[in-house]
Symmetry: C3
Subunit: 347 residues, 3 copies
């Protein structure tokens, strides 16, 4: 089992420590649950009360909070970031030996690095390229003209359909489908004609793609995710979308065709962006909101109405259907009242 002393962790992550530097840490836990050989963290003052009673061996926290820490402390400018880096030491990932599992099907025209690990039942088609140190878990399909960049990890059951390029250190979770046909149709009098989807998908370095997320390939140009884009589960990215670097999207969000999302955006769960819109850098969209026009300014944006007890909500929702009428009646009242007031003052 991996273990480090508090002093070793302090040195490795360039943090100051207080208390017993010799204490041995072999795992991580919550403030409430961690035991004497585990590290915990405090980054949200909401949990300060739990600090005083924690049984953790060491706590990562800010210098302010260190005063009230009953055990060893690692002082960090940003305790959450420091915790994230330290915790990674204690993650036990399944071993992935280099080589191709005998049940995998690798086409003769595919190029697979000798340092890559190709899991059971993977299918790698002609023209695919698997770079150094890549790990493909079981059941991945890497289609023609697809490249998986160095050190990327496809956890298992990932599909790259065609003309998909992943950068370096990309992490893709099971069920994700990248490079499927964009949804392009032309209506010919009484039936649909399909637009062939001739573009691809380009995904930058350090991106993460969640479970069962879908990213369609472009109609002519490519669908693009810049570096460090982070997508949660069940997100839908339509064809020809561009997502700027460092943007994060929560589960079930969706972006329609040809929309262009800026850098450092945060898109909430089940939020949507309509097609052909532009969203500026550093825009936050709250959960379940629908972006129906381009957003030119950084900031936080929302739509929707608040949750209420159903009987009360019904009454309000029914009134919404007459909102325009109410606004007109309000204006009319104001005019009539002003007239009366004028009469009054004229008296």
């Amino acid at each position: 089992m991996t273990s480090y002393s508090v002093a070793q962790l302090a040195e490795r992550f360039a943090l100051e420590f207080r208390g017993d530097g010799a204490r041995i840490i072999d795992g991580v836990g919550t403030l409430a649950g961690a035991g004497p050989t585990q590290l915990s963290f405090l980054s949200n003052s909401k949990y300060s009360a739990q600090l005083t009673s924690t049984r953790a061996g060491v706590v990562v926290l800010s210098s302010d909070a260190a005063e009230s820490c009953p055990t060893a402390a690692l002082i960090a400018r940003d305790p959450y970031v420091a915790y994230a880096r330290i915790a990674a030491l204690f993650e036990r990932l399944p071993a992935a030996a280099a080589g191709v599992h005998p049940s995998a099907v690798v086409a003769p025209g595919a190029r697979v690095s000798a340092s890559a690990s190709i899991g059971p039942c993977c299918v790698i088609e002609d023209g695919a390229v698997i770079e150094d140190g890549v790990v493909l878990g079981p059941h991945c399909i890497i289609g023609p003209e697809c490249t998986v960049g160095a050190q990327s990890r496809l956890v298992g059951r990932v599909t790259l359909v065609i003309r998909v390029t992943l950068g370096k250190r990309v992490l893709v979770h099971p069920g994700a489908v990248i490079g499927s046909d964009g949804f392009g149709l032309a209506f010919d009098r009484d039936h649909w004609v399909k637009l062939p989807q001739l573009g691809g998908v380009r995904i930058g370095d350090d991106c993460e793609i969640g479970a069962n997320t879908t990213i369609d390939r472009g109609a002519l140009d490519d669908t693009v995710l810049e570096d460090d884009v982070r997508l949660d589960n069940q997100i839908q990215i339509a064809h020809n979308v561009t997502i700027g670097a460092h943007t994060a999207m929560a589960g079930c969000a969706a972006v329609a065709g040809s929309a262009k999302i800026g850098r450092y955006c945060m898109i909430g769960g089940n939020a949507g962006v309509l097609g052909h819109l532009e969203v500026a850098d550093r825009v936050t969209i709250t959960a379940k909101s629908l972006v129906t026009h381009s957003i030119r300014e950084a900031g936080e944006y929302s739509s929707g109405v608040p949750l209420q007890e159903n009987r009360q909500w019904r009454r309000n929702a029914a009134r919404f259907k007459h909102l325009d009428e109410y606004a007109r009646r309000l204006s009319a009242l104001e005019s009539r009242l002003s007239a009366l007031e004028k009469d009054k003052s004229d008296d």
Copy 2:
């Protein structure tokens, strides 16, 4: 073909029957579609009109409705529940012989019960446990430290990523991904740092998980579904969520990280629950509503506005942007009018 007489069905399910007990029943159908060897049911009075003209061999219904039944009747306190149990007799499930299909890949460190059935192309990794009577359809992936409880059935193409425990008699539909990484990120000045997801997923007995549903594993503690939780298709359950026993969620619902849903809740289609909230027992959330605050009382809750013809809706929706202003103008009018009225009465 399975068949039973009406009297046999009555005895087996402890129901009273009226009419011809010797009639042979070999299947089920709707009131409108069932033929003379089929059983149907009436549980919703909306369909009473169909009863009088049904050609079904026997109908499961309440004692009240039995009067108007033109054919044999099985009397049940709850006809829908009785029908559900009887209909199960007539379900033809694909046979699943015990044993491991030769195309499956079972790691030497996995433990598979001799009574389990492991379908084609399944991959079972080191440390996985498959208990008695389990059926894995084709293409299931059972990752390290995962346990599939006795008599559970994974229909096919189910992924248990890592540290997932399923209880007994759990039913999981194709495309479901359980135990994928929770979406945990810390922002470090200009880029994201991933939080390792060190917890697991614990799913109780008699749960059902729909097609393409995703359930992430916890960051430190586990994500938990208690017994008899029923999830429809394309549901997203984020890390560290707890869902109480007997709660049912309809398609495309989503629960954000660390939310705690009570027992006997009903969450409507595409409804959402924000992170870190608590929802009491026996709460119903209607379709597409967003829960933005904790709910402490049982009851029905909703958000959203009603559907309208687009031109009319546009006018009302545009007014919504000024609702606060209207409310202020309304209050101002009231004051002005009161003043006038007072003047009037002072006259």
Copy 3:
């Protein structure tokens, strides 16, 4: 590489051409990006400005626009439809040789046409039928009593669970699950009893089913998609739904159980239709709207409120909770004001 002269394209697609008919075309591109051996198109006048500077070898456009075309032109009544048909010439689909890949598992009781192409790791179960010219990409599962109609293409990783019939020329994208259990439950005092799902799914000719879309099979009767239905990614179709011919649904839309959608409808992204409703032919539902009652008339329908900057939105959303009260106060004001006005005129 496939190539055609402009005159050849004109003849093949029955279009008039202007300019150099001998020019050789070997691909397609956007007006902005196409080079001298590529074809482009102009169907949206928004892009007219790009026409004058295009370097494309030939442009498909309407006769009106042809005047301003700086290069060869193909004149079409509907340039977008004509472009769709021509572009299909230049699509390079992965070759699919007839025959069964050695890693595929075909049950002895399955019937597979000799002209079908069955990819790596496919599983075809007893009673399945694969008709002429079908292409199954890698990892498809075709369950019992399923039929894949002639010339259909399942791109890869498609699951047909049981009792699913696909018509001719159906295209299904990866991760789609068709024929999974409908979500049918009866509540028996303190726990759920599952309703067996005994129906199937029938999908017409020329349908397209997007990536990770789910279509449940019926409880008793079938779930039905008529001909030429087009479903984008991550759509959820519940049991016993009927979708009329030529209806198209955008990503993440969902239809609840037993709803009946008409022909030639357009359902926007993440829109929802509640169960047991009927939607007439030629109805358009805008993105994220929820259909809560049957729609009897063709037309466009919407729900939702507009996106606003969060601070402003919060103020308006809070007021929504009192909308019913405001409406009453507005009516009361009107009465009081009328009374005052009457007094005034009586003076």
